[in-house]
């Protein structure tokens, strides 16, 4: 068994013990009656073995059973969908799968499970899949964990893939760990970067500690290697005119699709109610001259799937609800994107939004303090820019729709 061993021949005095205890960032080294010990907080980071090799030693496994990686072939993408409507993260993963597969000379395989989905499968062949395995069963109509896991298991047993990519959606993050545990293999969640080595080991990079650190993770000795990736991390390939590849219908014993879950109802998601929960905010500031003009701010927010927020003067004028006021004494927000329209940026306001991921500020005054916190300072008139921006985005939306 791999472990850290303590080499201690004599009693350790308290002052020295203090120094030694400090080495471990996880507080896993203990000292009692002059004796050192390691507790279960140990993360095997081996820091102690580097800093105090006289006391700590890492002992490797005596026998390591190696698996034959060449028996595992193919890069799989799980096709995420809602009643046959394929989630766009699937196409992004196919793009990445293509890149990985080409590097090691494997195929890209899509796993598509659902009910009455056969005709939707063809689309996947336009986006880089070499093969689409389709399980079309009534028991797969709604997403339920056990039958979907059973199908996944059946597929893996038959195909023995090397890499499995699953969208980091609420479904993917429920299904992927379930399947990974069934095969006693590794799964790395929310990868932001994936690369593959010649020996088919996947190099996975993911954030931890709320994004404050990044970790590089490998699955060195088990297959398949599972990874989930969030939507909008990778890019899909351009849709190819021609569908290359084949669709392979699969069968599974219906006994295995039994479930202890009954779906009672399906409903629309509620929209975010409070501006703190919105991913995108469009902020109306004093640059908005008339109450009617809020309509264009509203429209921009709608197009972006976001919400309208405002600054204090507009609330005092009675144009907007006090609940949408951004500011230190109002609400503090940190959306993915915030577009401020005619906001000069008081101290209060900036303190309430400066941690947003991306800040685009539009204002006519190049000296407006809002530009001190903006990523993109747009010097111009909202009355010229916003309507044109709305037109452009509408155009883009129309272009995109048929593709998905």
């Amino acid at each position: 068994m791999a472990k850290i061993e303590i080499i201690q021949n004599q009693k350790i005095e308290p002052h020295e013990a203090q120094e030694i205890l400090k080495i471990c960032p996880f507080g896993a080294i203990e000292w009692k009656d002059g004796k050192l010990d390691i507790n279960s907080g140990c993360k095997m980071c081996k820091l102690c073995t580097k800093q105090k090799p006289q006391y700590f030693q890492f002992v490797e496994d005596e026998v390591k059973k190696e698996i034959d990686k060449s028996l595992w072939k193919g890069v799989v993408v799980y096709v995420e969908h809602t009643y046959g409507d394929i989630h766009p993260v699937t196409f992004e993963l196919l793009g990445k799968a293509r890149e990985l597969a080409d590097k090691i000379g494997h195929e890209v395989i899509a796993l598509f499970a659902g009910y009455q989905i056969q005709e939707k499968a063809e689309e996947l062949l336009h986006y880089g899949a070499d093969k689409v395995f389709v399980y079309d069963e009534e028991a797969l109509k709604d997403f339920r964990i056990e039958p979907y896991t059973a199908v996944f298991e059946d597929f893996i047993n038959k195909q023995k893939p090397s890499v499995v990519l699953v969208g980091g959606t609420t479904i993917g993050r429920s299904l992927a760990p379930r399947v990974a545990a069934r095969f006693k293999t590794g799964l790395t969640a929310d990868c932001t970067s994936l690369e593959i080595e010649e020996n088919t080991d996947l190099s996975q990079i993911r954030p931890a500690f709320g994004g404050n650190i990044m970790a590089h993770i490998k699955t060195p000795n088990s297959r398949p290697q599972f990874a989930t990736v969030r939507y909008k991390i990778f890019s899909s390939l351009e849709r190819a005119e021609e569908a290359k590849g084949e669709i392979i219908p699969c069968q599974i014993d219906r006994e295995r699709l039994k479930s202890n879950i009954k779906v009672l109802d399906i409903k629309e998601k509620e929209k975010a109610k409070y501006i703190e929960d919105a991913e995108v905010l469009v902020v109306a500031g004093r640059g908005v001259q008339k109450e009617e003009d809020l309509a264009m701010i509203e429209e921009l927010a709608n197009l972006l799937g976001g919400m309208v927020a405002s600054t204090r003067p507009l609330i005092e004028a009675g144009w907007t609800d006090p609940k949408v006021q951004i500011g230190l004494s109002g609400r503090t927000v940190k959306p993915k994107l915030i577009i401020t329209c005619g906001v000069s940026g008081s101290v209060q306001f900036r303190a309430g939004m400066q941690n947003s991921e991306t800040i685009i500020a539009i204002n006519t005054d190049p000296n407006a303090p809002i530009f001190d916190v903006a990523n993109y300072s747009v010097i111009g008139d909202i009355y010229e820019i916003v309507p044109k921006l709305i037109d452009q985005l509408r155009q883009k939306k129309i272009e995109e729709v048929p593709a998905i």
Binding site: K273, Y274, P322, K323, Q325, L328, S329, G330, R331, S344, S346, V347, Q348, A351
Partner: protein, 481 residues
């Protein structure tokens, strides 16, 4: 006041503006209502709008000195302004003239870790100061709710905040200052020294003088080591009076929390509604919120357990422990939103910031409940139970303007009377500005006001500094100057 001699100030002309421009530079001067951002026509006191003739941003002591000297010689009023977050009209240029903004003087000049002081310009924001010193494991204890206020503004009103219970108020942390007299003379009061028995403490007089004596151009503030841990207790009680009556018992126990706040169920509901977030407990109508700080978990635990036991003995239903950031936020974010939540729940409101001895808080709050019924007007309150400073809000709701004016006037009158009877004072931390001058007069009487006036004239014989506020010899008629 009866003898209303109104100063005649000079209307500013092209020559004055030309001179100011030569001092502060083209980009730092704005002339006339059409060019001055409307933020500068008032502060957070609703219902008043008065523009200065000229707005200037000063960038150094030297500029301040030159501007004041000129204004003094030419009888031009000067109103100093930080962030304009005051609540009593203190930074409103009642008589026009020059508005001198210290916003651009926002540098932290020196951190002296040997003397535990920080030297700053007046325009530094409280939140920036706090973040800076805390990054060096140091602590500036005054904690007024408005973190975007400037430190200069805090000095001018002697701002307090929640931690006053244990740590005192702004005045207690001013070691020294550089001060510009209206004639342009630059003075230094106090310093990095800890002790000082050298004559009148002019720095202490300047703190709380609301810009009526001159302009603070530099500050030396005292710092403490930053306590490593903090913890809050949320203590539910059956009713408010049981809750507030517990406070003197806590104080007697000598395990002083950094803050003792009281809050009522209805205000919590308003905050829940406003934030769209539930409060961690809704079992009761009245709560005390206590905060502790200390250097180790053990020290903290020892202190709070004693107090928690006292609360239980005094009838608390339980004592709930907020010991992590999330738990802290779940309480304090609601506490922080009270004012906005109350504001959002009514058409208009007016506030009173009286302070009474700590053992009278309960009696005073109960008195406001009586007034609420008597005048059929919603009166909400929350506040610093631990230091006796109450924030009481009269809500206009559906009242017409005339009824509101009458009722609010009477209610204020009664509340201040009650406070004075109890040995209280007009303002705990917001200051007097011009909105509370009549009540100040009630508190100090003729002799007191005369003393104020003589102090004012000793510093500012030409009465150019913030006219119409402390030390003026007339009640302000907005349209008379």
């Amino acid at each position: 006041m009866s003898t209303a001699t109104i100063m005649k100030y000079k209307k500013m002309d092209a020559q004055d503006i030309q001179y100011l421009r030569s001092i502060v530079g083209e980009d730092y001067i704005f002339v006339g209502e059409e060019n001055i951002h409307d933020d500068y026509s008032g502060d957070e006191l609703a219902g008043i709008e008065r523009y200065p003739e000229v707005l200037i941003y000063v960038k150094s002591t030297d500029e301040i000195a030159k501007v004041l000297k000129y204004a003094n010689e030419n009888h031009i009023p000067v109103t100093t302004r930080g962030q304009g977050t005051g609540l009593v009209g203190g930074a409103v240029a009642l008589c026009g003239g020059i508005m001198l903004s210290t916003e651009k003087m926002n540098r932290i000049l020196e951190l002296d870790e040997e003397n535990l002081t920080v030297t700053v310009e007046p325009g530094v924001l409280l939140m920036d100061l706090t973040a800076f010193v805390e990054s060096h494991d140091l602590f500036y204890p005054p904690d007024p709710g408005e973190k975007s206020a400037s430190i200069g503004g805090n000095i001018s009103t002697n701002a307090g905040g929640m931690r006053a219970v244990k740590y005192g108020v702004t005045r207690d942390y001013v070691r020294g200052m550089e001060f510009v007299l209206p004639n342009g003379q630059v003075m230094n009061f106090g310093g990095k020294i800890v002790k000082n028995s050298s004559g009148y403490s002019l720095k202490d007089l300047i703190v709380g003088s609301e810009g009526t004596l001159g302009v603070v151009s530099k500050l030396i503030l005292k710092l403490l080591p930053l306590p490593k841990n903090k913890l809050s207790l949320l203590v539910p009680f059956q009713d408010l009076s049981t809750a507030i009556q517990t406070v003197p018992e806590i104080i007697k126990s000598k395990n002083i929390p950094t803050a003792i706040e009281f809050m009522q169920g209805e205000v919590i509901l308003a905050a829940e509604e406003f934030l769209g977030k539930k409060f961690p407990d809704n079992s009761s109508d009245a709560y005390l919120l206590l905060q502790f700080d200390g250097n180790s978990k053990e020290e903290l635990e020892a202190a709070y357990e004693k107090v928690a036991d006292i609360c239980l003995e005094c009838g608390a239903l339980d004592v709930l422990i907020a010991d992590t950031d999330e738990r802290h936020d779940s309480i304090w974010s609601a506490r922080g939103a009270f004012l906005e939540a109350i504001k959002a729940s009514t058409s208009h409101m007016d506030e009173c910031d009286v302070v009474v001895p700590r053992n009278k808080v309960s009696e005073f709050v109960i008195y406001t409940h009586k007034l609420q019924e008597q005048y059929n007007m919603r009166i909400s309150s929350f506040g610093h139970a631990g230091d006796g400073n109450l924030h009481i809000y009269l809500l206009k709701d559906q009242m017409d303007q005339k009824t509101w004016n009458e009722k609010a006037g009477e209610v204020f009158e009664k509340m201040y009377q009650k406070a004075f009877e109890m040995g209280g004072a007009v303002s705990g931390e917001h200051g007097i500005g011009f909105a509370k001058i009549p009540y100040l007069e009630e508190e100090f009487g003729k002799e007191g006001m005369e003393l104020f006036r003589r102090i004012k004239l000793a510093f500012d014989p030409n009465e150019i500094m913030n006219p119409g506020k402390l030390g003026s010899n007339y009640k302000v008629n907005l349209y008379a100057c």
